[in-house]
């Protein structure tokens, strides 16, 4: 069955290889452009005088389209070329910080970064187009900030240099605060303040941890590959402390229990495109950092913190699961659900095997797509129904049939129905938990499925079924809202039916990044692998 697509990909890769090295220069420019173009467009919009609205929209559209398409193209090239999960499309530019600090502008994609990079491009396109058509007040400023965010996101997941990795994250983070404060719904000022303080704290702790790590490794280059090379085969002290700093710092940014309270309120308050980009992509920064930096460099620390991480992850999954069930507001519920699903990813890391870490990456990518889709659709529900309070919504199904088709599909994807990408992530994490030192965790983790099915189906029932409440003057979902949603749904579906798109580079990337440090779990004799 899968022969056909693979053969097809082989054909493409043969073409690309025959094109040879002349292509690689192009790819390097593409990497840089994907980051620079949104920023250039933001700058152009900021400094130019009065522009017709169509011009503004066109500029913004280019700023979102180019990174999105480049990420897809680079992804296709990466998949088509015979790599071993190592870095491709590397850029190394000396910006004058190299001699003293070992800091370069160092870009590149490995098997772990690639899925996140494509996620950033895809969700960016969807959120960007939704924002362009959303008709918010002061559209131009909104788009400028969102473009800055998009530029930062493309940078985060293509940075090999740790300083730039952090720098781009801040670049994407700051507009979030501003946009919540200006365009958020009720209570935006307080929420913006809370999020700013909380996330800045997390980022500070992360930075401290990263710098300390750099100092202790004694590497000459402040990059993921440089520090890894410096540590090859040698253990080093203070692993527990360093890992703790990174776990807490990154953990705050991914809403690890009990540092989660900022997330539901922030996502519920933020305008939909911001919630899509933050919950869908930017939040993954924390776990991505743990996977790319903390776990491969500090295996001893990871072991020491494992037991605590287990309980915190279960807190995410079960405590926040119940909190999610108790929510009445659709957007607050989605925000809580997104916190809850991070518990799965942390459990995958806790299992600390190639299956667990690979599945956590799959889970994060799938979650990014599905949560962005859900925030988009919830925003449409809120706009049509006039409220996001589920007790005041009802019976929308017959009046908005297309929305009624999309929303439950997105919800089912998020619950982990087979056929969607989320299923593979969750399944892999469950498989890895059974082989972890504490297999009983599997039973608790599986409760999460039931919990998410309960709140997911309840939300669908409350909003779309039952007696019709309120007026829906604007009717069904519009084409401009439908296409971004369909783009995300199609990606979820494609990965769900053909998970090797993601799992192949991830498997290789994880094996590359964790060379004989992690207790690699290979499947016992038999033909099945995680994704077949």
């Amino acid at each position: 069955m899968t022969q056909l697509p693979i053969a097809f990909l082989d054909g493409v890769s043969a073409c690309l290889r025959s094109a040879g090295t002349s292509m690689s220069g192009f790819h390097v420019y593409l990497m840089i452009f994907a980051i620079a173009l949104p920023l250039i467009m933001a700058l152009a919009l900021a400094v130019s005088g009065k522009l017709p609205e169509r011009m503004v929209k066109a500029c913004a559209a280019i700023g979102f389209l180019v990174p999105g398409l480049s990420s897809l193209w680079l992804g296709a090239v990466y998949l088509a070329s015979a790599t071993d999960g190592g870095y491709m499309f590397t850029v190394l530019a000396d910006l004058g910080l190299s001699s003293r600090f070992g800091i370069y502008l160092h870009l590149g994609l490995n098997g772990i970064a690639l899925p996140f990079y494509m996620l950033a491009g895809l969700v960016g396109m969807a959120a960007g187009f939704y924002a362009i058509q959303s008709g918010v007040e002061r559209l131009r400023l909104f788009l400028i900030l969102l473009l800055v965010m998009q530029g930062g996101l493309m940078g985060v997941f293509s940075s090999v240099d740790v300083l730039f990795f952090y720098f781009f994250h801040e670049f994407a983070l700051i507009p979030t605060f501003v946009m919540i404060a200006i365009w958020g719904r009720t209570g935006r000022k307080a929420v913006a303040l809370e999020v700013t303080i909380y996330l800045t704290l997390g980022a500070m702790i992360t930075l401290a941890g990263l710098i300390a790590l750099y100092v202790f490794t004694g590497a000459t280059e402040f990059s993921m590959t440089g520090m890894r090379a410096a540590l090859w085969g040698s253990g080093f002290p203070h692993q527990g402390t360093l890992f703790g700093l990174l776990l807490i710092g990154f953990g705050i940014l991914v809403s690890l229990f009990p540092f989660h309270t900022w997330a539901p309120r922030a996502y519920a308050t933020a305008p939909a495109p911001v919630a899509m980009l933050h919950a869908g992509v930017l939040k993954k920064f924390g776990l991505y950092g743990l996977i790319q930096i903390a776990y491969p460099l500090l295996p001893q620390g990871a072991m020491e913190w494992g037991p605590l991480l287990l309980w915190l992850a279960l807190g995410n999954l079960l405590v926040i699961g119940f909190v999610t069930m108790a929510q009445r507001d659709l957007k607050l519920m989605l925000g809580s659900a997104s916190v809850m699903h991070m518990g799965y990813a942390f459990l995958g890391l806790y299992a600390y095997s190639t299956v667990g870490i690979g599945a956590a990456i799959m889970m994060l990518v799938a979650h990014g797509l599905s949560v962005a889709l859900l925030f988009l659709l919830a925003d449409v529900v809120e706009k049509r129904g006039g409220t996001a309070d589920m007790s005041e919504l009802g019976g929308m199904g017959t009046r908005t049939p297309v929305l009624m088709g999309l929303f439950p599909a997105a919800m089912m994807a998020s619950v982990g129905l087979p056929g969607f990408a989320n299923f593979w992530g969750e399944l892999g994490i469950f498989v890895s938990l059974y082989a972890s030192p504490t297999p009983w965790v599997l039973y608790l983790a599986l409760l999460g499925i039931i919990i998410s099915a309960v709140y997911g189906l309840r939300a669908v029932a409350k909003v779309f079924f039952g007696e019709a409440k309120g007026e829906i003057p604007d009717g069904d979902i519009k084409a401009s809202e439908k296409w971004p949603a369909l783009l995300l749904l199609a990606a979820l579906f494609l990965i769900g039916l053909w998970p090797r798109l993601i799992s192949d580079p991830v498997n290789e990337g994880v094996l590359q990044t964790f060379p004989d440090r992690a207790p690699v779990i290979t499947a016992p004799a038999g033909e099945i692998s995680l994704t077949e």
Partner: protein, 462 residues
């Protein structure tokens, strides 16, 4: 809920055998029978509990009757609920003897309870739904006991291994015919009676809808297992036979259930089709168009003939002839008599108890406790609803409250408040009064002098 255990079971199988391919598993399980555990089988069976609606996860199936009738026919007759039983058939090698015992009893209890509950229903589709539950119980019990029979009493030839599959899959096949027929027949009736589903609002339909009545009667005969013209006669026989050979109490219960089956199906038939019309919509009923009746006729033929193995295509026929455990010798006669008595007595009793046409349920009139007992459905719905409202939702609200109070309130807001207090304290110092600043100045000077003079050394060195 069912998938909860099912998934654990699958993961367990994966880590035990390293594969989840059915072909590979069969070989591995054959070579190392010790690695098959009871827990594994029971966890996998959880999936069957959910998908084939066995107790205690049966409540969804009657509730799913809200869907359109052709969908009920498809889901309940052949496809979805069959998935669980089919799954058992494909993985029979993963079940130990203990697991098979438990599986048999789950099936037996489901068969009995669902048959009792069917008496408390007035909705034609609900009655059929409970009969589906009951028949699924038969299939699961048939699988369990048939496999046990093959394991322990196998009469020497290789096919004994597959008796469980044969017994359950044969009943699944015949059940698919007559249950699809009954559902589509009920659809025809509901259509004719202007969406009336209460059997006590029907009555006298035999005059208005002769073909539907005739085909429905064929379905009733088939499910009741009337000898030689009812498909379930043959397939239920196989299940009863393995029950008799392995588990005598279960055999008695299943035989009683067979009688109950004939009784409640007879109740449905005599009240809905015989007697006089009990409502306006029944009076105005007329035969459905041929598009509705034709499938009924086809299915009726299959229901009558479906029990004869010779009628199946060659490869399927081999399965039915060799794998279905058949009684022989004196047992053969005994089984025949028992089945015949159960079905005929059941149908006859239905005529006696419920009369030929009635506007009210006579059992409800004469013996209310019996009716209430059947109607209670043993309070499963109430227990589940109470769990959701009283336990699950309250727990969710409570945890959410704690989250708001302790984490969001005490920890996050508390930290902010401590920082704020420092701010207030620092602000209090900046009073703007020169006199106060002079006092602070003197205090600082004093401190400086003390430090310089070495008076503080004792404190600082600690």
């Amino acid at each position: 809920m069912g998938d909860f255990g099912f998934l654990i079971g699958i993961i367990m199988v994966y880590w035990t055998f390293g594969t989840v391919s059915l072909g590979g598993l069969q070989e591995l399980a054959h070579h190392s029978p010790d690695s098959v555990t009871t827990a594994m089988g029971l966890l996998l069976f959880c999936g069957v509990l959910g998908k084939s609606a066995q107790m205690p996860l049966h409540v969804w199936l009657p509730d799913a009757m809200a869907g359109p009738t052709p969908i009920s026919a498809l889901i309940h007759a052949a496809t979805m609920v069959a998935a669980g039983v089919y799954f058992l058939g494909r993985t029979f090698f993963l079940f130990t003897g203990e697991a098979l015992h438990i599986i048999s009893w789950v099936g037996v209890v489901t068969a009995l309870c669902a048959a009792i509950w069917a008496f408390g229903q007035r909705d034609i589709k609900k009655i059929l739904a409970y009969s589906t539950l009951s028949q699924l119980g038969y299939m699961v019990a048939g699988f369990g006991m048939g496999s046990l029979y093959g394991l322990h009493h196998g009469d020497g030839h290789g096919a004994a291994l597959y008796y469980g599959i044969g017994a359950s899959m044969f009943h699944l096949t015949t059940h698919a015919f007559f249950k699809a027929l009954l559902f589509l027949g009920s659809g025809s009736v509901i259509h004719a009676c202007h969406h009336e589903q209460d059997i006590f609002e029907m009555g006298g339909l035999y005059k208005k809808m002769p073909l539907t009545t005739l085909t429905f009667a064929a379905g009733v005969i088939a499910i009741a297992g009337v000898p030689f013209i009812g498909a379930a006669f043959f397939s239920k026989d196989a299940i009863l036979y393995v029950a008799k050979m392995t588990n005598f109490p279960a055999f008695l219960i299943l035989t009683g259930t067979a009688l109950l089956t004939a009784l409640y199906m007879g109740r449905l038939f005599v009240i809905a089709f015989l007697g006089k019309p009990n409502s306006k919509s029944a009076e105005h009923a007329h035969e459905s168009p041929w598009t509705i009746v034709l499938p009924l006729v086809v299915l009726a033929v299959c229901s009558v003939a479906g029990g004869y193995a010779g009628l199946y295509p060659e490869r399927l026929g081999v399965l039915v002839q060799n794998w279905v455990p058949l009684a022989h010798g004196s047992d053969h006669t005994l089984m025949l008599v028992i089945s015949a008595v159960a079905s005929v007595v059941g149908l006859g009793l239905a005529g006696l108890v419920y009369g030929f046409g009635s506007k009210t349920d006579r059992v409800e009139d004469k013996a209310p406790p019996v009716y209430a007992f059947a109607k209670s459905k043993f309070y499963f719905d109430e227990i589940y609803n109470a769990y959701v409202a009283k336990v699950q939702d309250r727990l969710a609200d409570f945890v959410s409250f704690l989250d708001t109070l302790f984490i969001s309130g005490l920890l996050v807001k508390g930290t902010a408040a401590v920082a704020g207090l420092f701010g207030i304290g620092a602000r209090r110092v900046h009073t703007g009064s020169v006199a106060a600043y002079v006092w602070w100045f003197f205090f600082g000077l004093l401190l400086f002098g003390a430090f310089a003079g070495g008076f503080l050394d004792g404190i600082l060195q600690k």
